[in-house]
């Protein structure tokens, strides 16, 4: 899986390991922890921590090092703490193992160091009474407790909201600076890595393709893959440009066995014949820079040009109008309830792409469910075209079929694993009183697959046989079957790698150019919204706090929440300073009920 990976990490430095899913990032942490999944083994090489070779340690020695000299910050903070033990008990267990005697005092110091107030009360709490960000702070405090020599942080912020993510990253950098610890920061986000790391290793299909100081690596990528990664990510500043959409996808484990040359060559825009056969060895690519490429100085030739966005087809006729739509979820018996959406108004014209941003629990998804008739509005009106569909009756549902369709967030859950792709994309034609026969449906399925850039050979496949990107295309194809005028897309690119994301964004833009479809694009990723949508709405705790043309809102945000959201995104240019706002809500220990009631949509 991983081949010939070499890196050095000096005390007080942060090394970033950057790669897309399947690149082998997580494997590195697992090798260090000696927790490889079944079927994997370290076949050679060494991993030294001062005098210890971590690959060949006795179990006793390894256990002695773990937690004390090597500490881990996990990916999913909410599940990494034992739910039936108090924070205090888990702290105490850890500190006791480290041989610290005045455990309570030390625990309070540590909590203070990660900016958690009222540590004494916190120690009595259970993990489920804390937010994800607070859990991660607790785990970070525990990781630093033993003044370890190395900290391994595997995607420590991926599971958190953007504003919290920014704070956690800064916190880790701050603690690491003060303690002089070395840190391995594993992430998929090149931009984030460049902000915190001193040095970066870019991983592709288990191979380190490029290595170098963070600033110069980002400013001038030497390997075509790093360059492509950069060009595939949408930006937050500067003119909008098209994204580089690499063809195919990263080779999987089985494909790797049959490859002899550069593992990136089949997708590389500047590859030549020898790339496929010759193993590119590490070559110097500037001061302190190494890249594994036969054409080290060719990367800058990769470029994309032009506008990504076909000009909006602004016709006067709106496809969707929401008038003061509100949704309140009531408890079964109770009179009290929480407003998931409060007086939301929005208009989407034909062919218009509108972004809806906000953090988890802000009510974005409820807006989508109101439009789709999956929830009935408590008050206000939902109008699709010229028909009021607020009541969500059966006739409304038939009308909606040709006006609005939904693309779901998680293609894993959105595609029935027991049905074939051909049946899934044409299920609209199977519904109703007069279902179409199979031959006619397969004909239509073929058209639909072609429209989303998939081959007809997938017709008889099951979802489990598809890649993540293919599944999301099938998901879109199904929504297109009834030829709706509006797509409602809820976080449809959030789980995907940037190169796949770029392909999907291009597809959505092409659909608009070809058939003038409108889009409500719900996302937490501001740069994607900036790339795709000319208008944006910002939601915060059920309210639409700001809306307007994307460029205007992002350039001069008026609402404090929008400002905070924007500040949390690291600027593209590594030279610009990154100053996320201190997150007040995060620092405040929750009063009363443990966590703000997050509206769980009921059926």
């Amino acid at each position: 899986m991983i081949r010939r990976l070499t890196f050095n990490l000096a005390p007080g430095r942060i090394l970033g390991i950057v790669g897309e899913s399947g690149a082998g990032k997580t494997m590195i942490g697992r090798v260090i922890a000696h927790a490889l999944p079944a079927g994997f083994a370290v076949t050679g090489g060494s991993l030294r921590l001062d005098d210890d070779n971590l690959v060949r340690l006795t179990p006793a020695r390894r256990r002695a090092l773990l937690g004390r000299d090597i500490a881990f910050v996990p990916q999913e903070p909410m599940t990494a703490l034992n739910p039936v033990m108090t924070i205090g008990a888990q702290f105490s267990e850890h500190l006791k193992r480290l041989g610290i005697t005045s455990r309570r005092t030390r625990a309070l110091e540590l909590l203070d160091a990660v900016h958690l107030r009222d540590g004494a009360a916190l120690l009595r709490r259970y993990p489920h009474q804390l937010s994800g960000g607070m859990c991660q702070r607790v785990l970070i405090a525990m990781a630093f407790a033993g003044r370890p020599r190395v900290i391994v942080a595997d995607e420590p912020t991926t599971a958190l909201d953007v504003t919290i993510q920014a704070r956690i990253v800064q916190l880790m950098a701050e603690l690491q600076r003060n303690a002089g610890t070395a840190m391995l920061f594993i992430t998929h986000d090149l931009r984030l890595a460049s902000r915190i790391c001193d040095e970066i290793v870019v991983l592709y299909a288990g191979r380190a393709v490029e290595r170098g100081p963070a600033a110069s690596l980002l400013a001038e990528p030497a390997h075509p893959y790093t360059r492509s990664l950069q060009l595939a990510s949408p930006t937050m500043t500067g003119p909008r440009r098209a994204l580089l959409a690499l063809a195919h996808r990263m080779p999987g484990l089985l494909e790797l066995a049959g490859m002899s040359g550069c593992r990136f060559a089949p997708r590389c825009p500047i590859a030549e014949a020898d790339c496929l056969t010759m193993d590119p060895l590490d070559r110097a690519a500037g001061p302190m820079r190494v890249a594994a490429c036969l054409r080290v100085d060719g990367a800058h030739r990769i470029a994309v040009s032009g506008l990504p966005v076909a000009p909006a087809i602004a016709s006067g006729k709106p496809v969707l109008r929401l008038h003061d739509a509100s949704k309140r979820f009531r408890s079964f018996w109770g009179a009290t309830g929480t407003w998931a959406v409060h007086d939301a108004s929005l208009v989407i014209g034909a062919g218009e792409f509108v972004g809806l941003v906000g953090e988890s629990g802000s009510g974005k998804s409820t807006v989508a469910r109101l439009i789709m008739g999956l929830e009935r509005a408590t008050s206000g009106r939902v109008v699709l075209g010229d028909r009021d569909v607020t009541r969500a009756s059966a006739a409304d549902a038939r009308h909606r079929l040709h006006w609005a369709q939904m693309v779901f967030q998680d293609p894993q859950s959105a595609l029935n694993p027991r049905r074939m792709v051909g049946d899934i994309v044409t299920q609209v034609l199977q519904a109703g009183r007069r279902p179409l026969d199979r031959t006619r449906r397969m004909e239509r399925a073929r058209e639909l697959l072609a429209e989303v850039g998939l081959g007809a050979d997938l017709l008889e496949r099951y979802p489990a046989q598809l890649s993540g990107g293919q599944r999301q295309r099938v998901n879109i194809a199904r929504a297109l079957c009834a030829v709706p005028r509006l797509l409602v897309a809820d976080e449809i690119v959030s789980g995907l790698d940037v190169s796949v994301q770029a392909q999907l964004l291009a597809l959505l833009l092409r659909l608009r150019a070809e058939r003038g479809i409108a889009l409500l694009f719900i996302s937490h990723d501001l740069s994607v919204v900036r790339h795709l949508c000319e208008r944006v709405l910002v939601m915060h705790r059920g309210d639409i706090v700001e809306q307007g043309p994307t460029e205007t809102v992002f350039a001069s945000p008026r609402h404090p929440y929008t400002r905070r959201l924007l500040a949390a995104v690291p600027p593209d240019d590594p030279a610009l300073p990154w100053q996320p706002f201190p997150d007040e809500a995060e620092l405040m220990p929750p009063a009363g009920p443990p966590r703000a009631a997050v509206a769980v949509p009921s059926r």
């Binding site: 999956l374 079929l401 939904m406 779901f408 998680d410 859950s413 299920q427 199977q430 519904a431």
Partner: protein, 281 residues
């Protein structure tokens, strides 16, 4: 498909097949009528032990009836009750589970409360009370088992339906214009089917036991029908003298139930259902 042929499934199916064949060909296999009394030959041991008689391969009971014939005819009743009762309970429980899990709200609440009321009765007690009310007979036994054991299906399947209903593809089906009934049949039932089949097999084993218990207490089938539970009850007075009269029906019950359980257990593994269902199911 090759997974379907796992060891457990094979052994379980073989056991059930064996018992079924015995039941089906009982009149051909047995040389005596199961009710025929031979008061000269009472409590004969099996043919192979000393004092045994080749005319009674597995010996006789206290009334001189042929144990072999009684076992075979007992299998008929046991399987008949097991299959019909389990299917009945499955249909009732599955329908209610899907209604509760899919629609939620008041219906779910109502069905949930009904299950709670049923669960507060130990099954044995409830079936006894029902048998008092219904009277004896094989059809009554089936009815009692259905009325008692639908909750086993309802409880377990409802949770599964709930999980499936929250999947986005079910929402997508609704948005594609499927009716509730179409959605239930096309999207949800296929997902719950493996669990249902597993439960069905396990329930057949349970039904065999319940039928034996009711016959043992004397509330099962009419006195002239042969049931394993009845054989145990008859043998109780003489078991010190003739332990085999007790052991034979016990073994019959054990092997039949093991067959159903192995089958169910094997199916659970091969059909990849959640691991947590045990006897509580």
């Amino acid at each position: 498909m090759n997974a379907l042929l796992s060891g457990r499934v094979l052994v379980g199916a073989a056991l059930i097949l064996f018992v079924s064949l015995c039941a089906m060909f009982a009149p051909l296999l047995a040389s005596h009528d199961p009710g025929e009394q031979d008061l000269l030959n009472i409590l004969l041991p099996p043919a192979w032990s000393s004092g045994g008689d080749a005319a009674f391969p597995l010996g006789t009971d206290s009334l001189g009836r042929d144990q072999f014939a009684r076992l075979l005819y007992g299998a008929r009743l046991a399987l008949l009750v097991a299959v019909t009762a389990a299917c009945g309970a499955a249909v009732l429980g599955t329908v209610l589970a899907h209604i509760a899990g899919y629609f939620g709200g008041f219906l779910d609440w109502l069905i949930g409360r009904a299950v709670e009321v049923w669960m507060s009765f130990p099954p044995v007690i409830l079936s006894l009370i029902l048998m008092v009310g219904l009277g004896t007979g094989a059809d009554r036994v089936v009815l009692a088992i259905v009325l008692v054991d639908w909750t086993r299906f309802c409880r377990v399947l409802r949770a599964e339906v709930l999980v499936t209903t929250q999947r986005d593809y079910v929402t997508a089906a609704r948005l594609s214009g499927f009716t509730h009934l179409q959605t239930l049949i096309r999207e949800i039932l296929p997902a719950t089917l493996p669990l249902l089949i597993t439960l069905l097999s396990l329930e057949m084993g349970i039904a065999v036991i319940v039928e034996a218990i009711l016959s043992f207490v004397g509330l099962g089938v009419a006195a002239d029908q042969v049931a394993w539970g009845q054989m145990i009850a008859d043998a109780r007075s003489n078991f010190a003298l003739a332990p085999w009269t007790l052991l034979l029906p016990m073994a019959a019950i054990f092997f039949t139930v093991t067959g159903f359980n192995l089958l169910g257990d094997g199916l659970r593994r091969t059909l990849d259902v959640r691991q947590t269902i045990a006897r509580s199911a």
